[in-house]
Amino acid sequence: MGFKEYVLRKTIYAIITVIAIIILNYFIFLVLPGNPVHLLVQMTAGYKVNPEQLEYLKKLYGIDQPPLQRFINYFLHAIRFDFGYDLLFEQKPVINVILERLPNTILLLGTATIITIILGISLGVKAASRPGTKFDSAVVFSGLIGYSFASWWVGMVLLYFLGYMLRLFPLRGTVSPDIPPGDVVAYIKDLLWHMTLPVTSLVIVSFGGYALVVRNILVDILTEDFIITARAKGLPERIVLFRHALKAAAPPIITMVALSFAFIFTGAILTESVFAWEGMGTLIWQSIQYRNYPVLSGVFTIVAYLVVLAFYIADFLYGVLDPRIRVGR
């Protein structure tokens, strides 16, 4: 099987998965009680709405059609990122609501994820190159912490000591309200100031897990014959580690990195809620509380797309990196 065929097969898998996800999401929100028109009527006008308005609303949300037609409509719209209109925030298209919140979340979690990955991989590689040392045990220990601590709790504690007691950081929010509009430097400074604690609490609990996984994979690889050969050739340890070992360890690490990036999109519901950060996590939480299903369904579907994309990219890179995968099996 050639590389083209491999990519083709993975593409077909990805498409099938996306279709299945859209179907599954449709049913999740079909099962959840209450439909948008009901909720809208309850929220805006009480229970008395004249029949014409009801008909209009039903038509607007496509509820008047038979189930199969509704599903097909949903499907056709979902693949074009059209999830209908949101029920709360001034009835904007769902995709616009999401796009408004997305930058904040990408900023917060993107930063945290990048720091986590860089820190995690470099510490993991370093630990694997000297197994059994104190440094190694420290990395393993921080990995265990990562599995055990809740980032939102770490956030609460940081907020207490650094924010409340020492007054070094703001207690909540994304930017201070008193920043003069147009002052870009002040704005960026303020944003970074607000970001520090949430990013720190996210990184503290996640870099160790990364480091541990990278370390465990590398420790195994470093005992293999080709590493011994590389060392026997007299290659410097740096090259052995980064060119030979890390390349062999790449596939599972790539999957991990890709998945981390895919799940950035959902935001960190709990951490965002502790810091009152106006991101996707808060949006999801609000949407759940107010049964704002169109927004939720949009978020779920987009996350699913991203996860599939992440797996797809990972598979593609596997194929590039490891010829055995595309030729064998």
Binding site: S148, T266, I269, F300, V303, A304, V307, V308
Partner: protein, 434 residues
């Protein structure tokens, strides 16, 4: 003892022999045993109801050991007990109960509650009230500097009169302004009504109390922590058992059947991986009435995919081994091969994952409770943190309410991670590295 149990015992003995050598495994086991004994001994060591026993001390009372002696503690004072209840004939005559309270602190207490227990004839009272007369009580405090202060004067409407400074802000601070001996005088008057005074009790609610202080409603944080241990253990272990069982069976069946079925089953697992777990759980918890059994089932059903994938690839490899072929040659059925020959090979992986999946369940449940989606009738660590966050406990400086549950979550999770790693190392399923 049958041969089978003997073999099992021997295996366990061997396992323990290996396990003993893992230092981190022993630490994990130690922490777990600590938490399990907390959970088992909960009724003995945490006598208060974590949710219903309010105002055991003042709100946000410090842990007793962390407070200097200058912080007021709980005090309890009872009027001299009357061997025979004294009959008071009101008739404009005033009657005093005089009590002496040695108050040692400069700082005022959180609140003072005075209870007056009376007996009177209901019919008699009715005939009086119908004429427009009402019996009354009055409480006067004489401060150490001899200044008198009437803190309460009101009509008597029940036989258990209760006066609480907590109902008026700033009152308790006005009463207790200095250390020294306070006189508390209680007067009851009743326009000729006959009273039996049973007793008067004075309760000072302190600002330092118990092992871990109190929360915003004066409830015992230690009891909450101890009872929360039970919930955390139940949820963590059961959700993990459910998730791992589903994962192993799913992977086993998928890998064993192979071909198209395998393809479809693995696609389905991929689809479920792609659904954001926490948002879905939150949505379901908001809509379905949350209780811990529901949370366990949801966690179990959303947490098996990774395990299934590994179990499948292990099954694929085991399937090609010669002893499987031999089993078939000996006439074994598919079901027998699956259950008797392949499943046991997956078990080491399952055991390690049983321990390793617990932390995830504990953390996710804590997160759900933190958002206020926990079982309302059960205390959990997440719920403690939820209430702490909702009442801005940290801005009251109530670290004893926030730090312990978070550390408990972390240490319990860590114990399972350590145990899981130790088991993993011993049973060392090389097959996993496919």
């Amino acid at each position: 003892m049958s041969v089978k149990t003997k073999i099992l015992l021997m295996k366990l003995k061997d396992f323990w022999f290996e396990y003993k050598r893992s230092k981190s495994g022993l630490i994990g086991l130690g922490i777990l045993i600590f938490f399990v004994s907390l959970a088992l001994a909960a009724p003995l060591i945490a006598p208060y109801d974590p949710l219903r026993d309010t105002y055991l001390a003042g709100a946000y009372a410090l842990p007793a050991w962390a407070a200097p002696p200058s912080v007021p503690r709980n005090m309890h004072l009872e009027s001299p007990s009357y061997p025979k209840p004294i009959r008071i004939v009101g008739d404009y005559k005033e009657w005093n109960v005089k009590m002496l309270l040695d108050y040692p602190c400069k700082e005022p207490p959180a609140r003072m509650i005075i209870q007056i227990t009376l007996e009177y004839d209901d019919e008699e009272l009715k005939s009086f009230t119908s004429k427009g007369y009402m019996p009354w009580y009055s409480i006067v405090v004489v401060k150490p500097d001899k200044k008198e202060m009437e803190v309460a004067k009101a009509f008597i409407e029940t036989k258990a009169v209760r006066f609480d400074t907590g109902l008026k802000t700033g009152l308790v601070e006005k009463i207790f302004t200095m250390p020294g001996t306070y006189k508390i005088l209680v007067k009851v008057g009743g326009y000729g009504l006959t009273f039996k005074l049973v007793k008067v009790t004075v309760d000072i609610k302190g600002k330092a109390w118990g092992i871990l202080g109190t929360d915003w409603q004066g409830r015992d944080v230690w009891s909450q922590l101890v009872w929360g241990t039970r919930t955390a253990l139940i949820i963590g272990i059961l959700a993990s058992v459910l998730g791992v069982s589903i994962g192993i069976l799913y992977g086993l069946i998928s890998g064993f059947l192979g071909g198209k079925v395998d393809e479809v089953m693995m696609r389905l697992a991929d689809v479920l991986i792609a659904i954001p777990k926490l948002p879905l759980l939150i949505a379901l918890a908001v809509i379905l009435e949350p209780n811990i059994w529901l949370v366990i089932v949801l966690l179990g059903f959303l947490g098996w995919m990774g395990i299934a994938k590994v179990a499948r690839s292990m099954t694929l490899q085991i399937k090609t081994m010669q002893y499987i072929e031999a089993a078939y040659a000996a006439g074994a059925s598919n079901a027998r091969v699956m259950i008797r020959h392949i499943l046991p090979q997956l078990m080491p992986y399952a055991y390690a994952n049983l321990a390793l999946s617990v932390p995830d369940a504990i953390l996710v449940e804590a997160g759900l409770s933190f958002l206020g989606l926990g079982d309302p009738r059960r205390i959990t660590w997440g719920k403690m943190l939820h209430e702490a966050q909702a009442t801005a406990a940290l801005s009251q400086g109530a670290w004893w309410w926030v730090i312990p549950p978070g550390l408990a979550i972390a240490f319990l999770s860590m114990s399972f991670v350590l145990i899981g790693h130790a088991i993993d190392e011993i049973l060392n399923p090389r097959l996993r590295k496919l």
